[in-house]
Symmetry: C2
Subunit: 601 residues, 2 copies
């Protein structure tokens, strides 16, 4: 079987960089140890090797599709995947013991899911979406809602979804029009349509639990009038029977990639018999949904990193096996060709991928750790971790998605003409990856969130916390002679980032909010370079420590050398573009607030 | 019908920027005038509107494919397209009168082909490949070869191809092993296999003329032993009959994009009855082929620009029609949503595309003009234009392909979730475009050509000529108060480029050729920014002149304002990345000449 991820890198992140073992000091996770975690991850890998990766290509070639009359055909293997992942606790495992879970950290859950994402990204979403939907019910639903809906979701028999987007509204949740009319019977009558609903209908589950944003009749306009409902496709009735709940799948979308993953159009209440159950309080739907949304954003970022990882591994293997051309200066055509990995340009393409992929995955794992700490820590520590998570969420989502496009494109390029054919998987990774900058809020939306909300939230405290946190890594690096130079570079890039923000904030202070936010995407790009440089320095510190000590019990010497080398590569080849972003951001005037769009003809 | 290119921009390039009318002063082109050219281009547009664009999606969904026993199925419309394009002289039109052509400039031929590329890129290649193959026969073939093969090619009945790549050799033409054994009958017996042969077999033509690189039995090893042969699928025999020539199509490649364009695997001489006719002298095949190859490289660059143009137009139209969200600061959810083109981030994505697409197309047209002048001019003028063409060829190919990936990706992003569905064409443009950085020499190969050959050729004279040529534009811009600032910026970027090269050349002078060339792709990226900035300044000078004079007889005022605006956008948002490239290139040491690839694990 081809290699689709690096278990060595995953263990390095878990145990050496982001210290999952730190979590075991908290009561909630005290039942765990490193050995257990390692075994669980290995079990997930075995499951992915057996059930997921072998079907990756086939499920792309036989895509999930609308078969008429509300039916969505999905590959038969999908049911096996969902049930076996559920049985191995990769749906409910992070839930608490009292709710039937294993109290696993997000770090562990998402380490397993990284493997699934790399093995078969189009199927992993079914599992993680059910996980997120179930947790939302657990956190905000009534005891009855929890006992009714969560157990079959944990078993993988019922599919959870999040239903936000409507045809007329797109990313603009303000404009949601699905209506929930109260009844005396404890439920609401639902009427409306939702589009782009992932996993909204397929053949692998018996029921669907749609966590749906709708507006209670008479609710205030805008976001303040949006509530959250549980709308099952089949509603449970007395005696445990299921009854059709007038949730009709009217069609699907065929997509560029992720063709194993159903994207559906749902109609609620066409026959005026669709019931929804309010979750929590009325008009608070958006705040509840954002819990799931934030997790989903980190999940999308991690998926982008995972898919790029699989593409990297495929191109690395090819570069080692394929001989072509000779070294520069070798004029003798009778000398045999060399493996293309010996060509500097191929090494450049591989190292670019490695630096993006491993850096992005490290940031995702950082976020998973912060989510765990924000969950179990208390007081100032809890708040600090929550602030860091808030500021890093849009960055991990966007960096991984945007640079993942580049990274998977380079994987194709390493293979040359073969990479463009359907015979090799790299083109599929390239297609699958492209949605990640759109799912769960586009890059434009993430960038507005970063610059418009997260940078200024709590009087800028999230950024202050981030700078301090990065400072710890910079200090640690400065203590190693081999890393001093790079510690100084990161410090100066961080300073540049801060000064750039200070300049931009002047627009906000002057009330020019549109101008302040006009280049938010460029600001996001800059943030990505700086934050990933930090992750690389963090990895290099650990690797250098191992190299200095000569302790190669966890990883090989060349593994650690590779980390230091890739850090240097990222600082040299990627980070300089942060200065270009700063230059763009600091230019006076603006060119993207045209009132007359005829100039674009 | 949706708009897939800007005829205004095309006419602006032809008549206002690159002055096709200048060519009419040369005898060879003196039969032409502007009106004729404009009419021909309009006729090409009508043909593309009728025969090509309406089939763009359908030919992707019903791809050309191997149907067994040597047969490749192609969409029935393909024959119509080829025959009608041939009838309108878009295969043979650039040929001289005495050979049955219309003596059209490359500029005119390629203006029409730009329209075809934008309308249906997967079919345009069939036509241009036959054009190039026919010209190669005209230039180096015998009178008999010309009279036998060229006329049916001009009529679109016979397909021309170029057959270089072999399974074991890939980009490395040194390693070609197809053998040509001389006979006493004036032909050679051919035996060998070729892969990735575009248009190598399909159902729309009656015969195939493969211009094939092979090694005459006993020829010296390497490139010096490669000869060029005409190998028809069916060989003409006395009486005008055709006889099967043992050229068998053994299969095809299904690809990520360009699914209307056949990519085939050919076997010559499986039954020992394949005859080839030597073109020109033995062992000079590569130099002949490079004439076609250089044209094909410009053609690929132009195709990339054209496909990106079509994607840009699709996303521009969508951005005007789709309403979503409100302006920053608008808090009232009852106010209607605005067209997304009003959002600065959408304008940024559109202007990024426009600046890439129109800049790249301008550079392609610059190259077409240089090719025309290199053809008809004499002495120093001829040489100067040839040198400029040599240095710009790898740049136009690579800039358009690499930045085209970004540009078409932004087109998807403008459409959001819809852009990822098969219901909209932007995903097809994205897929089609991805091959352009691989066709006719990958980006890595082009970059080695630019830095390793073109920069130093004739003692660096090509670069000197380019700098002087750019200097004309800079001086012209400096004369306009509105453009002085940008003239100075381009001059300083040009200086930075020159200094960067000087530093790099030191490695070459010290004999460290591998180090010299290791970052050739980064050098290429830098060259692209600088050269496209020059094209934009050139366009801005013409536009500013029109704005100053108030003469809007050729184009509207907002059209010219759009050019100046987009120039400013390119200088602000794209050009700063050239400095980042310089920083990367000037770093001492190297990170991509690893001898131990274990570091990449």
């Amino acid at each position: 079987m081809s290699r689709y991820t690096s278990m060595e890198h995953l263990r390095f992140l878990l145990f050496e960089i982001h210290g999952v073992q730190d979590l075991f000091a908290y009561d909630y996770f005290s039942h765990l140890d490193n050995e257990q975690v390692a075994m669980m991850i290995d079990a997930a890998k075995a499951l992915a090797d057996r059930d997921m990766y072998p079907y990756f290509k086939e499920m792309d070639e036989q895509p999930v599709h609308y078969a008429g009359k509300g039916v969505v055909w999905s590959h038969p293997q999908l049911r096996t995947i969902i049930l076996n992942a559920a049985a191995q606790s990769w749906i409910g495992g992070e839930s608490s013991f009292d709710l039937g879970g294993l109290q696993l950290p997000q770090m562990v859950y998402n380490a397993a899911h990284h493997i699934f994402q790399a093995a078969n990204n189009g199927t992993q979403g079914y599992i993680s979406l059910t996980t997120g939907a179930a947790r939302l019910i657990q956190n905000y639903g009534s005891p009855e809602q929890i006992s009714t809906f969560v157990p079959p979701m944990f078993e993988g028999r019922w599919q959870g979804t999040m239903a936000l987007t409507e045809p007329q509204a797109g990313s603009s949740l303000t404009d949601i029009t699905t209506v929930a009319t109260p009844t005396d019977a404890g439920y609401y009558q639902i009427k409306g349509q939702k589009i782009f609903i992932s996993a909204g209908e397929h053949s692998a589950c018996d029921n669907f639990v749609h966590l749906t944003l709708a507006r209670i009749a008479g609710a205030p306009p805008g976001l303040k009038g949006v509530s959250l409902f549980i709308i099952p496709k089949h509603r449970p009735v007395t005696g445990g029977e299921l009854e059709y709940n007038d949730v009709f799948c009217a069609g699907d979308y065929q997509k560029l990639g992720q063709r194993a993953y159903a994207t559906t159009h749902l109609v609620f209440g066409e026959q005026d018999d669709c019931r929804g159950w309010l979750v929590g309080e009325p008009n608070k739907g958006l705040s509840y949904m954002f819990q799931l949304m934030n997790e989903a954003r980190i999940g999308v970022g991690q998926t982008a990193a995972s898919v790029s990882m699989a593409a990297y591994q495929a191109s690395l293997q090819y570069a080692r096996e394929r001989s072509q051309g000779r070294k520069v200066g070798e004029k003798d055509p009778l000398k045999p060709p060399v493996p293309i990995i010996q060509h500097p340009d191929v090494q450049r393409m591989l190292l670019t991928q490695k630096s993006i992929v491993e850096g992005a995955l490290s940031l995702a794992m950082e976020c998973n750790r912060l989510a765990d700490l924000a969950h179990v820590a208390e007081g100032a520590e809890q708040r600090r971790n929550w602030l860091l998570l808030e500021i890093l969420t849009p960055i991990v989502k966007t960096y991984s998605a945007e640079q993942g496009n580049r990274s998977t494109s380079l994987a194709i390029q390493v293979l040359g003409g073969y990479g463009y054919t359907m015979d090799f998987p790299v083109q599929q990774y390239y297609r699958d990856l492209r949605i990640m900058a759109i799912y769960e809020g586009t890059t434009g939306i993430q960038s507005l969130d970063l610059l418009g909300r997260k940078m200024t939230m709590e009087n800028g405290e999230a950024l202050i916390q981030l700078a301090q946190y990065m400072g710890i890594t910079i200090s640690a690096a400065a203590a190693h002679p081999a890393l001093q130079e790079h510690a100084a570079i990161l410090q100066s890039e961080l300073d540049r980032f801060g000064k750039t923000l200070q300049q931009l904030v002047k627009y906000a202070q002057a009330g020019e909010m549109e101008r302040y936010l006009a280049d938010a995407s460029v600001f996001m790009e800059m943030a990505g370079y700086v934050v990933i440089a930090w992750q690389w320095l963090k990895m290099a510190v650990a690797a250098q420590k191992a190299l200095d000590s000569g302790d190669f019990s966890a990883q090989s010497k060349s593994f650690y050398e590779g980390k230091v080398h890739t850090m240097k590569f990222f600082f040299r080849y990627e980070l300089p573009h942060a200065a270009a972003c700063a230059k763009i951001l600091l230019e006076p005037g603006q060119l993207t607030m045209l009132e007359e769009d005829g100039l674009l003809d």
